[in-house]
Amino acid sequence: MIRIEGLGKTYRVEGREVSALDGIDLEIAKGEIFGIIGRSGAGKSTLLRSLNLLERPSSGRVLIDGEDITGFDRQRLHALRQRIGMIFQHFNLLNAKTVAANIDWPLRCTSSLTAAQRAERVAELLALVGLSEHAGKYPAQLSGGQKQRVGIARALASRPQLLLCDEATSALDPETTQSILRLLLDINRRLGLTIVLITHEMQVIRTLCDRVAVIDGGRIVESGKVADVFLHPRHPVTRSMVAQDDPLTAAMLDPAHAFAQDKLRGTLVRLTYVGDITYQPVLSDIMAASTVRFTILQGEVSSIKELPFGQLLLELEGSDEDVRRVFAELDRHHIHHEVLQ
């Protein structure tokens, strides 16, 4: 659906060239939820805004459904933007208009629907985001979560195929964040909508995204399926973001800091696994057939989006030969292991 090739953006600040994006290559498939994560100033906002040309890239191409949008004239750009919804961190609602009028606004300006058809569509959207009773209120009378729901309804009004989310939950409390993320997931499934989001919170990526790209200093430093990136972060930025989000993972990624070295005698090993195996007594079977003894030092069993996963930090005690045999068995069952020391 979206293909970004060699995208670059430079700004002129006081006569000097400052690079915001540098050689970005990305491919985003139809119907998927794609997350872009990075610290503030990493370039994620510029990248997202390049997808509807709110930011003009300095180099490279952005192809949507095979067409390079960077060459679009005003007319085609308007038409393109009408097919792309966008929601914002600070909602950006029109304060002078009611909830219903806010949702109606893009329809009034860009569609050929009659007033009655528009009213019907607005009612439909209000029901979709659960705000039917608040149609006549003004944004100032709503809570943050409700405002974002209006933003979502407004973004969906002209039936876009793509939704861009600019830190959509960063201004919300954790509980409201969860409800907005659930709504986005629900919309993605029911409407088959492709969603591209930017965030600085790993937790948003874990809850919502299928794939993720980590951006730092205007470059993509790591990307892949969320479970892979989350369980096996390679780049220092990714590792630090994973660690901030999840102290358990942090301890397992860096056991030297988490555990007293003098108490450890055996081999320190981190196991990770995803999918159905999470619910099977594989580890128990392997260890029962071996003389190797193990101690669980740290562990987590949870899910990423709906994919169950587990990660365990074990200390194995036994002969090198036996430990190697345990590793072979783990490999056979697709349990990933990495020896930490």
Binding site: N52, L54, L77, H78, A79, L80, R81, Q82, I84, M86, F88, H90, N92, L93, L94, N95, A96, K97, W105, P106, R108, C109, T110, Y138, P139, A140, R154, S158, L164
Partner: protein
């Protein structure tokens, strides 16, 4: 100091005062109408052509901005005098209520335009960005989203301008402009009728208070924050 015991209240021509009040209201009202008519589009133009805005046009912005600054830097009393020939061409006379209106408009329209520009600048940039992201055309963003968002601020700016006009209208009495200012100068000052001076000033105070009150009520009525 004014010695109130010296005032001869019996000698006041109340008919003259009522008529002068009416003239002041007409001068202010008509001038306000033209000020908004000229200043509002000018203010919108100043805003949208400024750097980073919807229709960025640096050259045009600089020209408009320069003109507004020049007009605003001329003291009103000087403007009144400088404008006399222009006013004669426009209206046929530089005297009376009609003669005062052109200089009033020329003085306050750029002032009002600057207020409008500032009010529009106060609107969250994100709101404009959201409209752009929806693929809405620029003129609809300006008239359908921006101006309604700015309405309370525009009403407040209009109130400030109306009050400025009241005081400028009074000043136009110096060149024979009519209204309360004219009365105050001719009777209160030149003929030493202190009572006329006291009453005209009192009436101006009342007028300003009323306009401010009405303006505040309107702003409150249209505020959605």
């Amino acid at each position: 100091m004014i010695d109130l015991s010296m005032i001869e209240w019996g000698s006041i021509e109340w008919g003259d005062i009522a008529f002068a009040t009416w003239e002041t209201l007409v001068m202010t009202g008509v001038s306000l109408f033209f000020t908004v008519l000229i200043g509002l589009p000018l203010g919108i133009l100043l805003f949208v052509t400024s750097q980073g805005q919807l229709l960025e046009q640096r050259a045009l912005y600089r020209v408009l901005s320069f003109i507004a600054n020049v007009l605003r830097s001329v003291p009103f009393l000087i403007l009144l005098i400088v404008m006399i020939p222009v006013t004669v061409i426009l209206i046929g006379t530089s005297l009376g209520v009609e003669g005062a209106i052109p200089p009033l408009v020329v003085a306050t329209a750029p002032f009002f335009a600057r207020l409008v520009e500032n009010v529009l600048r106060e609107i969250d940039r994100g709101v404009i960005e959201a409209c752009q992201a929806m693929g809405i055309r620029t003129h609809r963003i300006i008239f359908g989203a921006l101006l309604p968002e700015a309405l309370p601020g525009l009403l407040a700016a209009t109130t400030v301008t109306a009050i400025t006009l009241i005081s400028y209208a009074a000043m136009s009495g110096v060149i024979g402009g009519g209204g309360l200012g004219d009365l105050a100068i001719r009777f209160g000052y030149q003929r030493f009728q202190t009572e006329v001076m006291v009453i005209t000033v009192a009436l101006l105070v009342v007028l300003v208070q009323l306009i401010q009150y009405a303006g505040d009520r309107l702003v409150l009525h249209f505020s959605r924050k």
